[in-house]
């Protein structure tokens, strides 16, 4: 008896017969899966309308709630971007947009998009819906806390939106909220606006801690029989690592918010140095503004990976399903996600090269930043190799995946420029930075979100989205987004500063006027094109082609539920038993071009499956 199988020490008591796979005991050696370690989850069953649709504890409903709220905030952010672009492209066209208002739009656009839209959408929206389904569990392990986490997010959004209506308006300090300006007069919204922003962020952190606990523990401790960590879809790996980052990075944000709130409300001097304001010596003294920057970016850098990693995971799954090919180098993709996640805590001050911090730090952080580029590049190579000689279905989902790869590579390469201290110094705080982070955090993950909606809409609603409308939506969005952000690299190179209300009269700035007009027109067109998407969703809900079960012929568990759309409890009477990874596409010797995760080895005995 080889040591590896330890048949003598069968460690576990068998639980009830409920979870044994269907095959008879005589053919089970190759079909053997360990019996269940734990008894079935004790699910809460809602009985009233309120507990079914409002304070619902079912992760699928909570996922849709997060999705809708996040999309609402995203639309607010989108409208703010139109206002900003109107001012930059056609100054004085809209007299309402004063300098103060412009900075408020800049700030709210940034904070909404990064935190309230992207993070909430990926972790709260996709995470809640897909995690229990993809790991084979009936729901999250603590549904009550999951429900509370959504309502905390909702309250946080309400507080944030309320800041538009208070005297002084919302804060205009930039999404980075740097002190001392953020809490001093002269910055828009330095009264109630900044306080509401900090309060909203604190509520967001508390809510996401609760949600994050659910996602992590469900993935680690509530998988179904046969589902090892290395058989999970990369979507789960991406969301899982992002959640782990969120649990460890949000504390720094919470701490900096609390300290800034105290600086504002109680006139403490955590971040406030000795200041003379309009000739008056203020009561502050001894504080350190750069401390805020360190705390903020200790959060801020993992935050951008919290946005990027779920996108990486999801796009891997979308590519492999729609190219009918296993993701190339699955294990390395997993280690790359984990490695990027771990390293992301050691690169934060590459956002601070020009802040006046200890100059020696530049060496350390530039080094770590270049190191983190390695696993990221590895992932890009693997996506491309996955597509090589694959049976690619050029549908809307695949188009968005290809759009992701192109825009992410573009944004990633400009990141290498910015990661080096010397090159960053002239480029910092210019449009080059704006181009970089929009490409890599805005366009690329957004392409993934849209592709993911086209991909999973049939599961959530039972209907397909229109391919025709989808392709129009894709091409306008993709080409339009490129038209918006590619020229910005040139603007940045010639030195046009970011967060400037107007271009002024200097010769090199006026040379950018034409470019700015072009970008604005493109932005408005792309914004309008999103109505195609919304129209597609709303009409397909009623007249979309019925999807049936597993229309994409995918392998992962979310497509193998008893009902489509999945109902409370997800899998019906018996939980699924997993025998393989979700990437068995076009396996030589197999009848179909896909082998779902629950297919036992005895059914595909002639196929040359990988040992996973």
């Amino acid at each position: 008896m080889s040591d590896e199988y330890n048949q003598n020490n069968t460690p576990l008591e068998a639980q009830s017969s409920e979870t044994m796979s269907g095959s008879s005991s005589s053919a089970t050696d190759i079909d053997y899966v360990r019996p269940a370690e734990l008894s079935e989850q004790d699910l809460y069953h809602a009985h009233s309308w309120i507990t079914k649709w409002v304070f619902c504890q079912d992760a699928k409903v909570i996922g849709v709630q997060y999705f809708l709220t996040a999309v609402f905030t995203g639309i607010v952010g989108l409208v703010l971007s139109w206002l900003m672009r109107l001012q930059l492209g056609f100054p004085d066209l809209v007299p309402f947009i004063t300098a103060e208002h412009y900075y408020q739009f800049v700030t709210m656009h940034g904070m909404i998009m990064v935190v309230y839209f992207l993070t909430a959408l990926f972790l709260g929206g996709f995470g809640n819906y897909l995690i229990p389904l993809m790991v084979g569990s009936r729901d999250m392990i603590f549904p009550y806390v999951n429900m509370v986490s959504y309502w905390m997010f909702f309250v946080a959004v309400c507080v944030l939106m309320a800041s538009f209506f208070v005297p002084g308006g919302p804060t205009g300090a930039g999404w980075t909220l740097y002190p001392p300006q953020a809490i001093l007069p002269g910055s828009p919204g330095s009264g109630m606006g900044i306080i509401l922003m900090l309060t909203s962020l604190s509520l967001f952190v508390i809510g996401f801690t609760m949600g994050g606990l659910n996602y992590l523990v469900t993935i680690l401790q509530a998988r179904t029989r046969g589902m090892t960590l290395m058989r999970m879809p990369l979507t789960i790996w991406g969301i899982f690592t992002a959640t782990a980052l969120a649990m460890l990075a949000f504390p720094a944000l919470l701490v900096s918010c609390i300290m800034m709130t105290l600086d504002k409300v109680l006139e403490t001097s955590f971040f406030m140095p000795a200041i003379i304001q309009a000739g008056e010596v203020l009561d502050y003294g001894g504080g350190s503004p750069v401390l805020f920057q360190h705390l903020f970016w200790f959060f801020g850098h993992p935050e951008v990976y919290i946005v990027a990693l779920p996108a990486f995971g999801i796009v891997s799954d979308l590519i492999s399903v729609h190219a009918r090919k296993n993701i190339f180098g699955y294990r390395m993709m997993v280690w790359a996600i984990v490695g990027i996640g771990g390293l992301s805590f050691f690169v934060w001050a590459h956002h601070m090269y020009v802040s006046g911090m200890n100059p020696w730090f530049g060496f350390f952080f530039a080094t770590t930043t270049l190191i983190i580029a390695v696993p990221t590049a590895l992932k890009v190579y693997n996506w491309i190799v996955t597509l090589f000689r694959a049976n690619i279905r050029m549908n809307t989902v695949m188009l968005f995946c290809l759009g992701f790869i192109v825009t992410f590579v573009n944004g990633g390469i400009t990141g290498i420029f910015l990661g080096n201290v010397a090159v960053d110094i002239p480029l910092s705080d210019t449009y080059f930075v704006i181009a970089h982070f929009h490409m890599v955090m805005g366009i690329a993950p957004l392409m993934v979100i849209m592709g993911a909606v086209y991909h999973w809409f049939p599961l959530v609603t039972g209907r397909m989205l229109s391919e025709k409308l989808g392709k129009w939506h894709f091409w306008i969005t993709f080409l339009g987004a490129y038209s918006i952000y590619f020229p910005m690299h040139y603007l940045g190179f010639i030195g046009v500063p970011r967060r400037y209300f107007e271009m002024y009269d200097s010769p090199y700035m006026t040379s950018a006027v034409g470019m700015n007009e072009f970008i604005t027109v493109a932005a408005l067109i792309v914004g309008a094109a999103q109505f195609i998407f919304i129209y597609n969703i709303i009409t397909s809900l009623r007249i979309g082609k019925p999807a049936g079960k597993n229309p994409w012929k995918a392998n992962s568990l979310e497509w193998l539920t008893s009902e489509v759309p999945p109902v409370h409890g997800n899998f019906g009477e018996k939980l699924p038993v997993v025998h393989r990874w979700p990437y068995d596409f076009n396996v030589p010797g197999s009848k179909e071009d896909y082998i779902p995760q629950t297919t036992p080895p005895s059914e595909v005995i002639n196929a040359e499956v990988e040992k996973t």
């Binding site: 392990i141 504390p251 001097s269 001894g286």
Partner: protein
Amino acid sequence: MSDNTLNNLPGGFKGMAHDMGSDQTAFKGVQWGKFMMWIFLLSDTFIFSCFLISYMKGRSSTVVDWPNTSEVFSLHVGSVPVPLLLIAIMTFVLITSSGTMALAVKFGYEKNRKMCAWLVLATAIGGLTFVGMQIFEWSKLIHEGVRPWSNPFGAKQFGSFFFMITGFHGVHVSIGVIFLFIFARKTFRGDFDTGKRGFFTSQKSDYVAIEILGLYWHFVDLVWVFIFAFFYLW
């Protein structure tokens, strides 16, 4: 997971590889609620670490002298100033309550309802005493002129960091005390024996909840160990 099965699993580094590579659960023998509490505590550790790091940075970069903590935090016994006396008593109380909590967990798993309930109550009372002393300390310092925005003893940031860090810790202790009283009542009533469903969560009660609360309480004690060392002693 029973003791037998846990003991039969490989240990050490090989055990970690085995656990991580296994299906269903990555952390054998760790109930969901307990694991959630551990992750929450890890997150909370990062919060307090960020506070203490900010304090370190603030104190190390001050050009105005930092107050002498032995003097500021001394209590007068008669006319003799005893440095850090109140803090020493607070530490004693918190460590005692940690001990009673650990014993409560032990008796809980042995299904000894009475001992468990009395020990949880003792822990709650210890926690309440700690909060009371912390409030007394705050009022004493406020009386002497220490404010979040300034103080008569030295650098401005002393008061701000003091109130913020001990305040945050005190809030954590208070929340713990509330839960301890609730759980003491549940234990006395026998809810953990009968598996009565909770009011909010509708989940069945089990003695593992005492262990979970115990983890939180020990964390609160752990943070105090660090605050005591860095803020009062250093």
